[in-house]
Structures are given as C-alpha cells and as structure tokens.
Amino acid sequence: MLNKGLLGQLIQTLCCLPGVGPKSAQRMAFYLLQRDRQGAQRLSNTLLTALEKIQHCQHCRTLTELTVCEICASSSRDQSLLCVVETPSDAWVVEQAAFFKGVYFILHGRLSPLDGIGPDELGLDLLEQRFATGSIKEIILATNSTVEGEATAYYISHLAKKYQLQASRIAQGVPIGGELEFIDSGTLSQAFMGRKNLD
C-alpha cells in the first residue's frame, strides 16, 4: 500500500540518487517527513533554485550560477595556466587540494572511440578556440589514468603543440604513505620511469 500515493512517489524519486536504493530512500523520506520538515523545505527550495540557476561557466564549463565562474573571473589566478580535467568533480578535487593557482577547462567526458565519443562530441573545438586566443601559455593534462584518459591527453597535447603551448601530463606513481609491497606492477613501472633526481 505504501508504494502508492505521494509517499511512494517520493521514495521512488529519491532512488534516482547515486548509491540510494529503495531502503535508504525509504529512510530518507520518513526522516524528512517525520523529523525534519523544515530541512525538507530548505532542501526542496535549494534544489529548485540550483536546478534553475546552475549552468556551465562560459570559459571553463564548470557548474556555476554565474556566467563566468569565480575561478575564471578571479584576478589572483594565473590565467595563462590551464588545467584540463574530465569532470567538474575532478576540478573540485584539485581545487580542494589548494595548490593549483591556474584556471580549469572541463571536458565533461573523455575521448572514447568505442562509444562513439570523438573530439566533436567533447566540444574540443571550444578548447581550441581558447588556445587560439593566445592567453594560455601552459596546459596541464589531468585526465584520468585510464586508456581513454590517455587517449584524450595525447590528442589535446597535439592540439596544444599546434599553438606552441607547453603541455604536460600529471605524474603517476607511488601514493604518499604507500608501501611498494602493495603497489601494482603497472603503477610501479610508471613510478620508476618517471623518477626524479634528488638534488
């Protein structure tokens, strides 16, 4: 009986969230309705406003309610240093680490020929237009370390070469606090190939 009506509909709708199954959705729905109606009100209002206002930044294509996001508009950021990432959440992670002082470009995906995703589907012409403006001096390719990520990085590095930009790929290797014993052979070989001189 509970599966019908508005309550059932709410539970079903909550299931659209990642990692939320029927049971968690049920708990959420009951909690919001029984214990925290104000919170539910806030949640629904914020959700509505966010849906209405949050769009892609015109420069970096990250999610923002502004036409140009804070990072792209900031004068304290190095506008000549561009970090290319796959998703807004990747940019968010880099931003949280708080060491990168340049700007971002979000691909919203990766080159995946087997899925029919090529340069046009990714909107790489937009990135090329940005290269063409001449404001960028260096790009850092921070795509994932998967074959698709590598394919994307290789392609963009060639695009960058056309505009005489310096392109670099993020390093791969032993994580901080990582013990060699537990590292897979692929990562270990990358770590050896990308070793650094100790000064």
């Binding site: 990642p18 990692g19 080159l111 020929p113 087997l114 899925d115 029919g116 995703i117 090529g118 340069p119 046009d120 998967t146 074959v147 590598e150 394919a151 290789y154 392609y155 060639h158 695009l159 056309k162 537990f182 897979d184 052979s185 692929g186 990562t187």
Partner: protein, 248 residues
C-alpha cells in the same frame, strides 16, 4: 543453467563501462571462451588493487564464475606480456577492439584470433618504441601495416577470407604486372582500368607489405571487405579516428 567456474583464463579487456558506484562491466576477449561479459565488483575504489590491471590492452589472466550471462570476476592477474600502447597506436588499439567486438561473437572461441590480437598489440607497442625501422616506413605506415595484417588474419580465421588467390573470371593466377578490380563478394578481376595493382594482390596473399602503394591499396581493399561484411553498419572508431588523424 549450471554454474560456470573458469580459472586463470588468458584474456584482454576489449571495453569497460562503469556500473553503479564502484563496479565495472568488462567485455573480455578470452582465449578459450571467446568474448565474455564480466562484472568486476568494487574495483573503482581508492584502495582498489585491481583497478590498475583492469584496463584494455593489458594481457591478463582472469578467473570468473557465474550462472547467468554476466559472470562475476573472482581473480585477475597480469600476464608477463608487455603491451603498452601510446599515442597513435592507442587509437589503433580502439579500432582493433571494435573489429573484434563486431566480428567475433560472444561465447564463440577463436584461439587463433586471440593469438593474432596479442601479436598485433605487441607489434603496435614495438612500433611506437623503435626509432629505426627496416622498410623506411614512418610510424604511421608501420602501424598501418600491422593493422592490415591483423585484418587479413581476422577475416581468414572467422571464415571470411579474401578471394584474392585467383582471378575470379579466368581462374588464372595473379599477374603482378596487371591491374585488377576488387569486389568483396566476388574477388579480383583483371582489367586494364583496374584500381588495384597485381603487386598489391600478391602482397595481400603473401601478407607482406613493403611499399606505400601496396599499403594504401590494401587499405582500400580491406575497407571494402569490412564494410561489405558489416552490411552498412559503420564502425564507430573509424569516423572518430579519421577526425583525430586530421588533427595529428
């Protein structure tokens, strides 16, 4: 259906897609069981030990079990075969994977295709590594030669071998000084205005490509054959690779 348990089966991942929060669904091209869909549970986690292994173009030894169509991965190890595709070769790897996916069917074992696929990946790895090359080919042409050889072998092993041994009309052996027309369903026919040289046909029969003309004509022939057998369904990777090549 009975429970299948397969241990330490050599295989390559052709394609992977994300499934739920932490899992992957893999299309694995195994040596003795053909293409199998395998679910790898919980591998997309921060501390995952197998995430670095479960990538396309890596020689693996997979163990899996399951009753249904989608099997569950139980163990995976790397095989000591070095395949590391970079740059141009990486894009070609995607193309080869799509060819396998289109021409080999699920649960249809092709050990010889598996061996060719492995050799193809090893050659693609080598081509991108080596600085000097015997025939004076650029890396692009070497890659093309590797791809043509793979395509020829693939067609042969799955029973769609090219009809290039004899002239389809006269049944005369191939004359290397003559010109031929090629049709995927009929074979080669000698004609003065033919688009393919006898030398290329001979190169295809010998599976040795030594000059650029043979390579470009063989490309035309193989494209013709593949399009014919795919019956109008285009290869996704081909269109995208063409775009990528334009830029590179």
């Amino acid at each position: 259906m009975t429970e299948t348990v397969v241990e330490c089966q050599p295989g390559f991942i052709l394609h992977h897609r994300r499934y739920r929060e932490t899992s992957l669904i893999l299309e694995v091209f195994t040596r003795d069981y053909g293409i199998i869909s395998i679910l790898a549970k919980g591998v997309r986690k921060a501390k995952s030990r197998t995430a670095g292994l479960l990538l396309p173009f890596k020689a693996l030894s997979v163990s899996y079990c399951g009753k249904a169509e989608l099997k569950t991965l139980t163990q995976v190890e790397a095989q000591p075969i070095h395949t590391d595709l970079t740059g141009l070769a990486l894009y070609c790897g995607f193309y080869v994977n799509e060819l396998i996916g289109r021409f080999c069917h699920k649960h249809d074992p092709h050990p010889e295709v598996y061996a060719d696929y492995r050799d193809c990946l090893m050659q693609l790895t080598r081509v991108m590594r080596e600085t000097e090359n015997p025939a004076g080919f650029t890396p692009l042409l070497q890659v093309e030669a590797v791809l043509r050889l793979f395509e020829l072998n693939l067609m042969q092993h799955i029973g769609l071998a090219l009809l290039t041994e004899y002239d389809a009309h006269t049944e005369a052996p191939i004359n290397t000084d003559a010109q031929y027309f090629f049709q995927a369903e009929r074979g080669v026919i000698e004609h003065v205005a033919g688009t393919v040289s006898g030398k290329t046909i001979q190169a295809i029969n010998d599976k040795v490509f030594t000059d650029t003309q043979a390579l470009s004509e063989a490309k035309y022939i193989m494209r013709n054959v593949i399009n014919f057998h795919l019956q109008g369904k285009p290869l996704k990777t081909r269109a995208i690779l063409a775009k990528i090549y334009q830029q590179l």
